[in-house]
């Protein structure tokens, strides 16, 4: 049994704690948060040891791995502390606030040869995985354009401030929402190397952006549009999608379905000419425990499997997460021009 600890018990931390708690190969031995209320609840109802000091938890509990799900500004110190002690580390997205810090962590993880993974869970959704596979097989021919979008109802009116209200702490829509889309674009289509026309728009928030619009150019020279808005209440929950246009057709992909349009039938994959729709019911990755979506369990399964088999993850390594941070940096700089 692997011994696991979790730092930060917000939405993602609690969700990870539950998934890890249910994992047959893992024993959840420590939970760490600064909220007395949350810690007291676990003290009262569970047998897990609780801490308000992450260093103490890491020192005392002899962890095999730790999940860092604290606000982004704490990632650097916490991840570094765990890596230095040779502990496998899963870090929530976005990875780091500055490129220098991110680079240092990537280097440290390599030196220590520990499994390192970031929480870009969309790669564990069957539809996006299928999109990547199809594009890698060249189904659309030469890619000419793409759009990456995410919309949802996080900030839908003007109100008080939280840690998310501070742009220096990674609180806005760019770090929180757009990072997912950027990461998908980067891993499915290729890394963006240039951002232009970037707009960080405030809608209801006073200090941080609620929407991100940008034109991204990839290493391959292909450009496309990034359009993300977390103040859109026409969406019940976060909805992420990618549209990819190629010379042979186009694919529209979200978490529930994959819509493929081909100008000509394609024999190898048995796709007809015209539209083919593939559904998540056929593509979902089976999991033993489900909470909020297969992808959250599947990403932890992947991380645990890498630890048990002593190999590095091919999906969502810190290095890949750092690439996303670099694009975020490009967009911020471009928006100031």
């Amino acid at each position: 049994m692997l011994r696991a600890g979790i730092i930060g018990l917000g939405k993602m931390g609690l969700s990870h704690a539950s998934i890890i708690g249910a994992h047959p190969s893992v024993e959840m031995v420590g939970l760490c948060d600064t909220s007395a209320l949350v810690l007291e609840a676990f003290r009262k109802f569970s047998k897990v040891n609780v801490y308000d000091d992450y260093k103490k938890m890491i020192d005392v509990e002899k962890l095999d791995f730790v999940v860092v799900a604290s606000p982004t500004k704490f990632h650097y110190d916490m991840v570094k502390y765990a890596l230095e002690r040779g502990i496998h580390t899963f870090c929530e997205k976005p990875f780091s606030l500055t490129i220098d810090e991110g680079q240092e962590l990537v280097k440290l993880a390599m030196e220590k040869n520990v499994v390192n993974q970031a929480g870009f869970h969309n790669h564990f959704i069957g539809t996006f995985r299928e999109l990547k596979r199809l594009l890698a097989g060249g189904i659309l021919g030469e890619i000419v354009h793409f759009t990456g979008e995410a919309y949802g109802p996080v900030v839908v009116k003007e109100k008080g401030e939280t840690w998310r209200s501070d742009p220096r702490e990674g609180g806005g829509c760019l770090f929180d929402y757009a990072s997912h889309v950027i990461n998908l674009i980067q891993e499915i289509l290729g890394p963006p190397v240039k951002a232009s026309g970037s707009q960080l728009k405030k809608i209801y928030s006073k200090k941080v952006e609620d929407a991100v619009y940008s034109i991204l150019t990839l290493e391959t020279g292909v450009s496309g549009v990034l359009s993300v808005n977390w103040s859109d209440e026409t969406y019940r929950k976060m909805s992420t999608s990618l549209m990819v246009m190629g010379k042979k057709g186009k694919i529209i992909c979200d978490a529930t379905e994959l819509k493929i349009y081909l100008k000509e039938a394609e024999r190898k994959e048995h796709h007809d000419k015209g539209w083919t729709i593939k559904y998540i019911t056929d593509l979902a990755i089976p999991v033993d425990f489900y909470l909020r979506g297969e992808e959250y369990s599947a990403q932890i399964d992947n991380f645990v499997e890498c630890i048990l088999n002593n190999k590095q993850t091919e999906i969502n390594s810190f290095e890949q997460a750092l690439r996303t941070d670099r694009v975020i940096d490009l967009i911020i700089k471009d928006s100031k021009n």
Binding site: A41, R236, E257, Y279, I280, D288, F289
Partner: protein, 287 residues
């Protein structure tokens, strides 16, 4: 008391579609007005359906107002509330954190409700906090017959994974005591939940879970589910029986017919013909 064989669900009204975000948007447009929801509910009642299983979505409050306004027309009608409407809290936790969310959604000021010492005092009485949250969610159903009260899968499965099993027992006791109702549990992890409820001392529970012949959203695997349905002592409600539309109603319900323990089938539909058809198939195969 046995539940009805056919429970009418509400996903179609609130833009929940597990197969297509686009379809869910179309649903949001179609059911923009409460009247359009009430019209479909009335059609369901005309086909002989008497139980509506629904989330504690804000708009259900409006539907409840309508039911209360016509007590004779809806005298035999029951609602099985499913709490909480999780996206409301999930979006709030993303923005405000756990404490901020409690502050926002607990009626009055929680930290003055527990006057002596705020958080420190509150932390000694989580069960009281749970009760306040339940009462807040149940407020909209005042005067309406709610014989079974469910907790949503997000909360059930979160508690399950965190192994906070005592909370199930506390929930169970409170629903029986305060609302004179049967507690129900919705889950995506049936085999694991049945084990946990046993540990918590909850006997013969009403458990609603995905049951379909392709194993969609049946975590732990279809074989484990089938074993539970054959051997465990609980009152199963089948949901996601069409596997988000991947199965045709007849083959889907025929499969359920293999498990005589299944007490009810939950489904949602938007047209009278579709409601009628599915109801008839359920009655044919579920005994």
């Amino acid at each position: 008391m046995r539940m009805d064989k056919v429970l009418f669900g509400d996903n179609q009204f609130f833009a929940v579609n597990h197969l297509s975000d686009e379809k869910s948007r179309q649903q949001a447009i179609r059911f923009k007005d409460d009247d359009s929801i009430i019209r479909v509910l009335d059609q369901a009642i005309e086909t002989g359906i008497n139980t509506f299983m629904c989330t504690t979505h804000d708009r259900i409050g409006n539907i409840c107002n309508h039911l209360r306004a016509y007590p004779e027309k809806y005298s035999g009608f029951r609602i099985y509330p499913c709490m909480p409407y999780a996206h409301k809290y999930a979006n709030a936790v993303t923005e405000l954190g756990v404490i901020g969310t409690i502050k926002q959604y607990v009626p009055g000021n929680i930290f003055s409700t527990f006057t002596k010492g705020g958080v420190a005092y509150l932390s000694k009485d989580f069960i009281k906090l749970m009760e306040i949250l339940i009462d807040a969610e149940m407020k909209m159903f005042r005067g309406i017959n709610t014989p079974v009260i469910f907790i949503q899968n997000v909360v059930v499965d979160l508690i399950l994974g965190l192994k906070l099993y005592d909370i199930f027992a506390e929930y169970d006791a409170y629903i029986r005591k305060k609302y004179k109702a049967e507690p129900g549990y919705i889950t995506m992890n049936l085999p694991a939940l049945l084990g946990a409820l046993k540990i918590a001392g909850v006997e013969n529970p009403i458990v609603c879970s995905s049951i379909n012949k392709i194993g969609f959203r049946m975590s732990g695997g279809i074989e484990a589910y089938e074993k539970c349905l054959a051997e465990e002592n609980f009152r199963p409600v089948a949901m996601q029986v069409l596997a988000a539309g991947a199965l045709r109603p007849k083959e889907a319900i025929e499969y359920l017919g293999r498990f005589p323990q299944i007490e009810s089938v939950l489904f949602g539909a938007s047209s009278k013909a579709h409601i009628q058809e599915t109801k008839e198939i359920i009655e044919k195969f579920i005994h």
